[in-house]
């Protein structure tokens, strides 16, 4: 049978979980995200907003989501005095992840773009790996290794951006209720 021939088995002791570690990634500053979202803007003017109960209720009605932060971080992207749109910076908390992101909204209420500013995710931390002669494409394993800034890429755990999708919908509603 062909299958058995290919099962090059590597019998290993189970790995042991030692601690939880947070993988933290900072992609962009607010300023960098603003320029990526509205490349044509020559200035980004902070827009101080204090949401009242009626506005919070309106956001809920429009998006189905609760806007908890009553003083959201909003900038008006401008070019020669003309408003190109809004940049809103927000944070969402998921089960494992914590995402800070920026959304660009056009004057007619459409998403211009979404950029992640930073991402924090909790992983099982340092794991004592057995002395495994890695044959996985001839690569070697560091043992023990830990997840930190050096290992930026992770495969294997379900990564959800549901909270982020909900957040973008909420920010579109927010953009619709603040004065233009």
């Amino acid at each position: 049978m062909k299958l058995t021939r290919h099962w090059a088995l590597l019998a290993l002791a189970p790995v042991a979980l030692v601690e939880t570690r947070v993988v933290a990634k900072d992609y962009l500053t607010v300023e960098a995200a603003q320029k990526l979202l509205f490349a044509g803007a020559d200035r980004f003017t902070p827009m101080p907003v204090k949401l009242d109960d009626a506005q919070i209720a309106r956001i809920k009605a429009l998006s189905g989501k609760v806007q908890r932060n009553r003083t959201p971080a909003i900038w008006r992207a401008q070019a020669g005095g003309k408003t190109l749109g809004l940049v809103i910076v927000d944070e969402v908390l998921g089960k494992h992840e914590n995402i800070t992101y920026a959304v660009g909204v056009s004057p007619d209420g459409k998403v211009v773009g979404v950029e992640i500013l930073s991402y924090r995710e909790a992983y099982g931390g340092e794991v004592r790996l057995p002395a495994w002669r890695a044959q996985f494409d001839g690569k070697t394993l560091a043992s023990p290794f830990k997840l930190d800034g050096d290992i930026a890429n992770i495969s294997g755990a379900t990564l959800s951006c549901r909270s982020l999708t909900d957040g973008v919908r909420r920010l579109l509603a927010l953009a619709a209720v603040v004065p233009a």
């Binding site: 290993l12 992640i116 794991v127 997840l147 890429n153 992770i154 294997g156 990564l159 951006c161």
Partner: protein
């Protein structure tokens, strides 16, 4: 090296490359795949084809034809272990770019579209003269021009292995942390996660599901594209399947 992330394809897509212009091109390629093949969007090309293909032939875009063609290739190779039509792959008739359904069905390309999008983004990065890059769509990834370190983690997020990805793609299919595997058809017993490395991400994506499902066609499917798989068992044990030497070819 610049790294940016945007939400696409129901996950967080991360792109690393030399320049913002290249990364913009990569995300634009991802966005085109997302818009065309999103089964949750009634206006997408895929949704339109799903509504019509039982009643009349549908002329597909090159993109949709390429992905459905590859899904059918893996359905045939795996004898339905991978199936974008939930059990009806033999009723999916693709001739060139013309699609017909011989039975009522709906294609869901979510098991392969992420890998395809990663491939398209890598092509876009290269087209924008990036010398090195990595595209990671929620764990389905492909890198070129450098040795990219990648950690393989269990569904409960404990890391079990680290590899270097060099001019290759990697995809993982895993149980959900709560132990459910309903997104995998026929997950093999005692398997919690299956990762596959090969040249193209679209193949790694499909193969990860085939390997996770187990069965007699696994080795032949891996051999078809010179892929190698790493399976994590319920007890944390690692098993390698496939011949890594073929990857170098």
């Amino acid at each position: 090296m610049i790294t940016r992330a945007q939400p696409w394809l129901g996950t967080l897509v991360e792109i690393s490359a030399d320049s913002d212009a290249a990364i913009d091109a990569g995300f634009a390629a991802i966005a085109r795949v997302h818009r065309a093949l999103n089964a949750h969007d009634p206006e997408s090309e895929l949704s339109c084809a799903n509504r019509v293909a039982l009643h009349q032939p549908v002329r597909l875009s090159r993109m949709a034809a390429a992905v459905i063609g590859r899904a059918q290739f893996w359905a045939a190779r795996s004898d339905g272990a991978f199936d974008a039509s939930a059990g009806h792959w033999r009723a999916v008739k693709l001739t060139g770019r013309t699609l017909r359904f011989a039975a009522p069905l709906a294609l869901d390309l979510s098991g392969i579209a992420k890998g395809f999008a990663v491939d398209r983004a890598v092509a876009a990065l290269r087209g924008a003269h990036a010398r090195r890059g990595l595209v990671n769509a929620g764990g389905d990834m492909r890198g070129f021009g450098a040795a990219w370190p990648v950690a393989l983690v269990r569904p409960d997020r404990a890391p079990v292995a680290q590899i270097a990805l060099r001019d290759a793609a990697l995809a993982t299919s895993a149980l959900r942390p709560d132990g459910s595997g309903d997104h995998l058809r026929g997950l093999a017993r005692n398997v919690v996660s299956a990762s596959v490395e090969c040249r193209r991400a679209i193949d790694a994506d499909a193969l990860a599901k085939i390997v996770a499902g187990g069965g007699p066609r696994v080795a032949a499917c891996l051999d078809a594209v010179g892929a190698v798989a790493l399976v994590i068992g319920a007890g944390g044990e690692l098993t390698q399947i496939g011949n890594p030497g073929r990857l170098a070819a």
